[in-house]
Amino acid sequence: MSFFGMGARPPATGYDENKINGIKGEMLMIQQMKDKASLICLEKCVPNYYSDGDLNKGESNCVDRCIGKFFQTIKVIGTEMQKQQQGGV
């Protein structure tokens, strides 16, 4: 990512190792969330046997609602876990 040539040090105003790791972790989490959501909603809404490449209206609506509920659940779980953490500490 840093094109300073071989063996060059990162500049003083450069990247903070911890921040980058944090961002990497977040990206990984979001990616996992997206994969999980797609897997779950695909399993629930789209039948295994299909003849057409496009999603039809029923499946579209179903996927829409599934993803909406998924993220709502994650939000609720997140707030609950935060509350528990704060309550415990």
Partner: protein, 396 residues
């Protein structure tokens, strides 16, 4: 012992019963028969009703399910229908939402139609919501997206069809009144009456829960001189009530009064925007029968055992929404839809509502200019042979 006649030999017993060890098989006696008859009879009626209710629902679902199999492109959005839900008088809103979930929602999901539910907990909320949307559209503020949303949603193809479902007579009345108020009423709220010597004193207005207290409130506001003539007229009464500082417990601000009264419908000028519209979204009234009271128990019991009929009726109306079959609005017939529901409202509630001048008990008036642009969802003759579509046939 020797004078007794010889005992007859016991009758031959069924070898199966002998093998099982059952001493005797008997039919139940009188009391047991009555008990079993009652229990099995009632269970049977409930089972029969539930089974046919499911079948009726399934029948309407199957009739519209072909719509869900149509493809939807990536940048398209499904059709969105507005559902107005108001609680039945004297009861909670959960009941109407349950009614919607049981009878209307399954058919909407089967047809892959999205819906947006507008709930109302007090009288007048639906009317204000509808009228405010129309006024926003008239003012030209309908597009309230910011830059980012515009960039995201510009490429999307929204569905233009829409549709309106009113669950219950109260919601139906409020929707039509809101439509009238929005199109025929002024864009700004009317100024409350002022007295001379009006001082900019705020805070004497009682914000009550009920919109029906508005008459007393308006007079109080006149005494206190709530709004001076110089203050901008665009401030709706609702926000002035909200912004005042009160040390009392915070009650919810009451629903704003209609911007135009029903008597003024005739004399209101026709706005230019209305002249350009040839027809509004079609509407449908879905009955929501709800009886309360101890003396109504026989009727309520009968209704408990005949919910399949209700499923059929609501299913037919929702299918007409899904299949987009509509006919023009006929005031004589359509204003009378659901009158039987009004007869079921609790008498006490109706009396208090009449005294206070509540919205649901007012006259049901729809201006001609609005009525000629309305359509009502109804299944066509070919879809369902039993429902008449011509006016003459409906009057029979």
């Amino acid at each position: 012992m020797s004078t007794e006649p010889p005992k007859p030999s016991p009758p031959p017993r069924n070898p199966v019963l002998v093998a099982l060890g059952i001493p005797r098989l008997r039919l139940p006696g009188r009391n047991m028969s009555i008990f079993l008859g009652t229990v099995l009879g009632i269970s049977g009626m409930i089972y029969y009703d539930r089974k046919n209710r499911r079948l009726n629902r399934q029948k309407w679902k199957d009739r519209v399910s072909y719509l869900a199999k149509e493809p939807l492109q990536v940048n398209e959005l499904p059709r969105k229908v507005k559902v107005f839900v108001a609680p039945p008088p004297g009861d909670h809103i959960d009941i109407t939402i349950d009614h919607f979930t049981q009878y209307i929602k399954p058919i909407l999901t089967a047809a892959a139609i999205d819906w947006e539910m507008v709930q109302a907990t007090r009288q007048g909320e639906i009317r204000y919501h509808v009228a405010e949307q129309i006024r926003k559209q008239r003012r030209g503020e309908a597009d309230s997206r910011d830059e980012l949303m515009k960039a995201v949603t510009d490429g999307l193809k929204y569905d233009s069809e829409g549709g309106v479902i009113c669950v219950g007579r109260g919601a139906y009345k409020e929707y039509l009144h809101g439509l009238n108020e929005g199109w025929l009423g002024p864009l700004e709220p009317p100024m409350p009456p002022e007295t001379e010597g009006s001082v900019e004193v705020r805070g004497l207005l009682e914000s009550g829960d009920d919109v029906t207290q508005k008459a007393t409130e308006a007079s109080k506001a006149a005494d206190a001189g709530l709004v001076t003539p110089q203050s901008p007229p665009a401030e709706p009464p609702k926000s002035t009530e909200e912004t005042e500082t009160r040390e009392k417990e915070d009650k919810k601000p009451s629903v704003p009064k209609p911007y135009i009264s029903q008597a003024d419908y005739e004399s209101a000028p026709m706005p230019a925007e209305l002249a350009q519209i040839t027809s509004f979204e079609p509407i449908v009234y879905i009955p929501h029968p709800h009886l309360l009271g101890f003396l109504n128990t026989p009727t309520r019991t009968y209704r408990f055992f005949t919910k399949r009929e209700l499923a059929d009726r609501c299913g037919r109306l929702t299918a007409s929404v899904a299949l987009s079959q509509s006919r023009p609005f006929v005031s004589r017939i359509d204003l009378a839809q659901g009158v039987e529901e009004e007869a079921e409202w609790p008498k006490k509630w109706k009396e208090t509502a009449l005294e206070k001048g509540s919205e649901w008990m007012q006259d049901f008036v729809v201006d001609d200019r609005i009525a000629e642009r309305l359509r009502v969802y109804q299944l066509g003759h070919s879809e369902d042979g039993s429902s008449p579509t011509t006016v003459a046939a409906m009057e029979e």
